[in-house]
């Protein structure tokens, strides 16, 4: 690919002069070579502070590949720079100047408008034993009766095995249409023997990947592939106050390579401040010890601001939450709360529980990132494993006939 690109990509005079000038600074003898050691410095001088350490690393590696006795020629240097430039838009000093306003920044608005017309999809899964308030939490999160309530009228008996149900809603806010699908897993952890109760859930997750993959590789594919892949799996930990149970560990370990897992402590109003603190610490230790990958801290990011944000979210994990779909009057305002004989627990009060932190992450800051991580990490993993089957998919392509 990069060779293909090289063939057609000529440096402009301006870019060429800028590269030569900077190169010359580090080659005062005009031998046409610089020391390999200086490569990082030269690159940084050209690309400015926008460059990331991972990129500098990659450039350094390329330099090592083409250096002769620790020296790099100008030809090789421009080749390295060109290859790098083809993969990023952070060009620093190589950027071209415009003499006046052109207006291509409106591509942002074009993007927004297209996305508005199409609407967004978000698929959320909740896993946990019955009675932990999963449906209530979903209704609290989205302020409506969006949780599982199928048209089957009679109360369902507890299923003998784990079942999987999805309910789909389109909700609208400020003319943004969101197709929200809530997948519930009644029966999980409710059996006498919960051996392999994660299996039907993993199977479901993979089935969505398979459906997406089948559409993606088909010859006459849809313009927009319907996305039923699970973008986020909220795992409800019962507020035992002890530590993670074997069932919790098994579930998260089996699923963490397939879906973004966000662990929450359900019904955390049963824990005192000290209990909650100690419980969270023990869960965190368990997660580290068992190398469970949770969202967002288990996922790498190149962006520094995201790293800072992840560290801030990380402090709260697992979110100790309380759900309620009942409104109560507190100080003259109607708020979501649970009224007890000894006080009112305000769901949206950060001093009472971490529901607001959870909502901010899920809805206000990371909804798109959850979708992208599902697509770029989990789906790609699935695809890679599926295609490493009997033969390479690229074999199916004949040679171009032009």
């Amino acid at each position: 690919m990069s060779e293909e690109f090289d063939q057609q990509f000529i440096l402009s005079q301006q870019q060429c002069e800028f590269l030569a000038k900077t190169f010359h600074k580090f080659d005062p003898d005009e031998n046409g070579v610089i020391e390999l050691e200086d490569l990082a410095k030269v690159t940084q001088e050209i690309l400015g502070n926008e460059i990331r350490s991972s990129e500098l690393q990659a450039i350094r590696l390329k330099g090592e590949g083409c250096a002769t006795e620790g020296y790099i020629t100008f030809g090789d240097f421009t080749k390295i720079m060109r290859e790098h430039m083809s993969s990023t838009t952070r060009w620093g000093g190589l950027k071209s100047k415009l003499q006046a306003f052109v207006g291509f920044d409106s591509i942002q608005d074009q993007l927004k408008e297209k996305a508005l017309k199409r609407g967004f999809e978000f698929n959320l899964m909740v896993v946990g034993e019955s009675g932990l308030g999963k449906s209530t939490m979903i209704n609290t999160l989205f302020r409506g009766t969006v949780s599982r309530q199928s048209c089957i009228q009679h109360p369902e008996p507890l299923p003998p095995t784990v079942k999987i149900n999805s309910v789909c809603h389109v909700i609208e806010e400020k003319s943004v249409n969101l197709k929200l699908s809530i997948t519930d897993t009644p029966g999980f952890g409710d059996q006498i023997n919960n051996l392999k109760s994660w299996e039907p859930i993993l199977e479901y997750v993979n089935k969505q990947f398979e459906a997406y993959l089948n559409e993606e590789v088909s010859i006459n594919r849809k313009k927009y592939i319907p996305d039923t892949r699970i973008h986020c799996c909220m795992y409800f930990i019962p507020p035992t106050g002890h530590c993670l149970r074997p069932l919790d560990i098994e579930f998260m370990k089996k699923l963490d390579k397939h879906v973004n897992i966000v662990p929450v402590i359900a019904k955390s109003d049963t824990l005192t401040i000290e209990e909650r603190h100690a419980f969270k610490q023990r869960i965190r230790d368990d997660i580290t010890h068992h190398k469970i990958r949770i969202y967002p801290s288990g996922y790498e990011t190149d962006e520094e601001d995201e790293m800072v944000a992840n560290a801030a979210i990380d402090k709260f994990l697992p979110f100790a939450i309380i759900g309620s779909d009942q409104l109560h009057q507190v100080n003259g305002k109607k708020i979501l709360a649970r009224k007890t004989k000894w006080g009112v627990i305000e769901v949206e009060n950060p001093a009472h529980c971490e529901f607001v932190n959870l909502r901010n992450m899920l809805i206000k800051s990371r909804m798109l990132d959850l979708k992208e991580t599902t697509d770029k990490v989990h789906y790609e993993n699935y695809r890679r494993q599926r295609l490493h089957g009997p033969r390479d998919i690229s074999d199916a392509l004949s040679q171009p006939d032009n």
Copy 2:
């Protein structure tokens, strides 16, 4: 796919009741059936005015598929509705209500932020004989020296065949980074015998598709596939005042299935008002007669506002343009213009030429659509043809092993 989706997608109680209520209106005898004739009316009542005629058509077809003696049962009706709901977010009366503000509209800002960090790519190609002002036009469009000026210092002799050169620039406006690649085709139409001078250009366009396809089907693909596909091809028609020449027709007919073609009349300051008008009309007739597909009118759209906008743009096609990278003082303001002994031709004055219309379309309103059309129409066409090779690509997928 839709069957897979059906399995997991349960209607909520609210949705189910709404469907039943509307169905009942058209089935007063409570036979549990409605007439096929009423299907469109029932659907419209449920989905509201948001529904498009193409969608009504599809629902009608589905209804015909499952009707018995002109009647549709409630079961079949909910199935049709569910299938339709899975492919759109315009749900009308089936939308779920929220009791309070949730904040998921911020997904728009999340989208914007992600796009900003990543930057945009736009690949523009200019085709036309030398001396028609292609480089000047590109520099006028982007207000800078962004056109071909490679680091080769000596003036290039006219190439003996059509050559293809690309120059890449990153330009920035309001912190939006745009990687702009300008592909030039020196030598096109400049030979004594211009037979098949479109061939190297088509080959180049397809080579970019092939590179993209190879990356897309590879097992370990890049997170973001570098997009070198040509998003728009500006074809420069010489201001002869007659009609399209055989060379123009041949080029556009050969390329119009592979790339978005925007025809422009170059150096239109050589035409009087009447000449320009008559020339444009003759070119439009030629385009219609030879069934040449030009952007945007040759591309279907479902959106009504886009249809209106296309019709407005269509009136101006081919854009009669004048380019200039020289600033001249007019009424105390410095503007892009060409100064002649008989007056000053203002490039950005809509009364003088249609440069502003061209710029508005290319940059301010359709940049993203040009990219999407390339991806969803031209690239898909290329992919479909390539995969209809020796065997189906989906054969390469083994059966899932879960």
